[in-house]
C-alpha cells in the first residue's frame, strides 16, 4: 500500500500536466514499514526527464540526481520509497519498458495518464520479487493521509497540527 498526502498526490499529477506532451518523472521520499508492505510518502522530488530523443514515451532520471536525492533524504531520515512518471495519452499501466527498466525492488512505481494536458487516472505498482529474474509488478492501493481541511474543519489527523499552522480561509 502506498500512502500520500493529498497535496503530494496532486503535485505529481500537476507535474505530468506541465510537461505534457512529454513524460514527467520524479522520486517519492518517505518511510517504509518494517515488513516493507506499506510505504508512506513524505515528500516528492521532481526530476528532469533526460530522454531528449523521445521524451513523449520514454523517461530517464540522471543517476546523479538520484545520488543527490538519496543523500538529502538520508539527512532528513527519509528513504527513496518509489518513483513516479506520466503516460501522455496512454493508459496508467506499466509498459514492457517500465518493467524492463524497473530495478528498485520493494519500491512503488506510480503512473499517471495525462490526456490532452489533463491528468486522468493514477495507479501504483509495487515491484516485488527476490531478484531481477524473479521481479514482478503488483497493483497496489493508494491511500491518503488525513490532513487539515482548509477553512478550519479538522480531519482526524488535525489534532497533531499546531493551531498556528492551520491555513486560514
Amino acid at each position: 500500500m502506498l500512502e500520500f498526502k493529498q497535496s503530494d498526490y496532486d503535485e505529481i499529477r500537476r507535474h505530468g500536466e506541465e510537461t505534457y506532451p512529454h513524460e514527467c518523472c520524479g522520486v517519492l521520499l518517505g518511510t517504509m514499514s518494517e515488513d516493507g508492505d506499506h510505504r508512506i510518502v513524505s515528500t516528492t522530488v521532481r526530476c528532469q526527464n533526460t530522454r531528449d530523443d523521445r521524451p513523449q514515451d520514454r523517461f530517464y532520471i540522471d543517476p546523479r540526481d538520484l545520488v543527490r536525492i538519496q543523500r538529502q533524504g538520508r539527512e532528513q531520515g527519509l528513504d527513496i520509497v518509489g518513483f513516479y512518471h506520466s503516460h501522455p495519452d496512454c493508459p496508467a499501466q506499466w509498459s514492457k519498458t517500465d518493467f524492463a527498466e524497473a530495478h528498485w525492488i520493494g519500491c512503488s512505481y506510480v503512473i499517471t495518464r495525462v490526456d490532452k494536458a489533463k491528468s486522468a487516472d493514477t495507479n501504483s505498482f509495487w515491484l516485488r520479487g527476490a531478484d531481477e529474474e524473479d521481479k514482478r509488478f503488483e497493483d497496489e492501493p493508494i491511500t491518503f493521509v488525513a490532513v487539515a481541511q482548509q477553512g478550519g474543519v479538522p480531519a482526524p489527523a488535525q489534532a497533531a497540527v499546531p493551531q498556528a499552522e492551520v491555513p486560514k480561509k
Binding site: R68, R74, I80, A102, W104, C107, D131, E132
Partner: protein, 89 residues
Amino acid sequence: MKVLIPTPLRQYADKKDAVDVPGATVGEALKNLTTSHPDLKKHLYNEDGKLRAFVNVYLNDEDIRYMEKENTPVAQSDTLSIVPSIAGG
C-alpha cells in the same frame, strides 16, 4: 569509507542504509562490502563478475565509469553511492 546502500538492497545488508568498509579502490571497497554481506553480490554483479549494467556507482558525486571505474582510488573520507537506474516508457 562509507557505502550508501539503496532501499532495495538493504535487506541484504542487515537493513543498514550505510556500511563502512576498508579499501584503497572502488573495486576493493565493493569486494569488501560483498564479502561482509555476501547476499549483495548477485544483485550488484552479473555471472561474469561485472557490475550489472543498471547499477550505477558514484564516488561522491562522480560516476566511476567516467573515472577509472573499479580501479578508481578512494580515501576513507569518501562516500560511495550505489544507485540502480530509473527509466521507463
